[in-house]
Point group: C2
Chain length 280, copies 2
């Protein structure tokens, strides 16, 4: 199988590495606006060859869009214009309603599968790609009834080769769940970093003291705006909904402390501890 | 050297394991209100023997308080009443102003060293103890001018044997820094867990979807109130100060989204990314 990766960064690169390793694909074309990334991806064995979008798509069985969600939404109709009934197009974006709505009336809609592998790091670029990234993680296919059987089978096989646990849901539900499970974590982490940077001027002290707890909550704050602004923008309503709730929850801690109501503080913490039963 | 660990849980247990392994101590007494923990600690090789507080203190060169910060503050004067000029008492608590103020006029003040190893997990109890926990982490000694030379040397040797990087600061500064570096992370994590538990009723979906990013930001929400309510209580003013700033920072994200001001959103994120330069 011949693969085109559009966007040879962290996610696209990691997928290509794993699919090559599993011999699911035997030739990989890379498409990227960033020439340096294409050179690195070739050096790292992620791609065999860099090509123009049109040439790469024409020669590929499977095309994976692995660029920021706004760029994916803009580019997908063009790609679908180019494909035939033997080809599969999939994305890997963190928001889904926007992209499926953008192509709902496209004649080749059924060649597209909306896919979201639930993995990422705060890093980016081909040098961050790791073939084992996805093993054991969840992956979601959205609106499967809008995809034809053969592209669905191809994407299922991709998920299997990546070692992922596949779930199905509609795009709207996906975007609500990811607002909770992923997008809000990034906002709290960014806000936490800004809090510390605003008030804690002794940077050396932060660096020397930073506990593992701080590092793990603030890790996501290293994630780049190129990826995350489009996600927040496309999932604005859900993210705002969760963000408002989160601020409400923080205000409860503030109120408990201000009023020296430590029974209430304990109750808030005991409630949070229930996450133990869900996330073991 | 003979050691008494008061509180044979995660922190006390981990310290005892490491100090035994390094042969810094050759006999360990355990003191704990929890009988089951004492039995487990003995089975796990953390302690040699459980004893009453008074008997254990009398027979020890070094006494380590590793119980919640409110209990430490209450118990420390009693322990200092029992010690002589050949003994060292240290704590491992996450707040420092409270405990040093409680003993500032005690005749044996100088036998005490206020110590804070910057490590912890969301787990508790002797079964969670790990001898390698502290390696490479920061440890703080507060108000060293109030401790005598020999206890300071003993505690320095403890830090060395734990493989920690030792810093010195006054108790007030310590409490401000830890509000930023540790305490606020716990509050955001608790609030994030409560947000998800409040709004996301499909627990199965959380469990299946939870990405590594979510798991790492919410991990601290598993931490127990027995430890954390006393910390927030003792560090109330600093924690409230940071919490107010954090809510202000979150409101900026909310405002940027509500007003579709994506340039501002990007600016907020780029600012947060500066944490990369501090936490590599």
């Amino acid at each position: 199988m011949k693969l085109t990766i559009i966007g040879v960064g962290l996610i696209g690169g990691s997928i290509a590495l794993k699919l090559r390793e599993k011999k699911f694909v035997d030739y990989v074309f890379g498409v990227d606006q960033n020439e340096q990334h294409l050179i690195e991806a070739k050096e790292l064995g992620i791609i065999d060859e860099s090509l123009s979008l049109e040439d790469a798509v024409h020669q590929s069985d499977l095309i994976i869009l692995a660029i920021p969600v706004d760029a994916s939404r803009t580019l997908l109709p063009t790609i679908l214009d180019l494909v035939n009934d033997n080809q599969t197009v999939m994305d890997v974006g963190s928001t889904k309603a926007g992209i499926v709505n953008a192509i709902q009336n496209h004649k080749n809609r059924s060649r597209f599968v909306a896919f979201h592998p639930m993995w990422g790091t705060e890093n980016s670029g081909p040098k961050s790609a790791i073939s084992e990234s996805f093993t054991g993680r969840a992956a979601v296919i959205c609106d499967r009834e809008d995809s034809a059987i053969s592209p669905l089978q191809t994407v299922k096989a991709v998920a299997e080769n990546l070692g992922m646990n596949l779930l199905y849901m509609d795009a709207e539900s996906h975007d609500i769940h990811t607002a909770y499970i992923s997008h809000i974590s990034h906002i709290t982490s960014y806000a936490l970093a800004n809090t510390v940077l605003e008030k804690e001027r002794e940077e050396d002290t932060i660096f020397q003291l930073a506990s593992s707890g701080f590092s793990s909550t603030v890790r996501l704050a290293k994630s780049h705006p190129e990826m995350w602004v489009p996600i927040f923008r496309q999932n604005k309503e859900n993210v705002l909904d969760v963000l408002n709730e989160h601020i409400t929850q923080l205000r409860k801690f503030k109120s408990a402390l201000e009023k020296d109501n430590y029974e209430y503080l304990e109750e808030l913490i005991r409630n949070a501890n229930k996450i133990r039963e869900i996330l073991r």
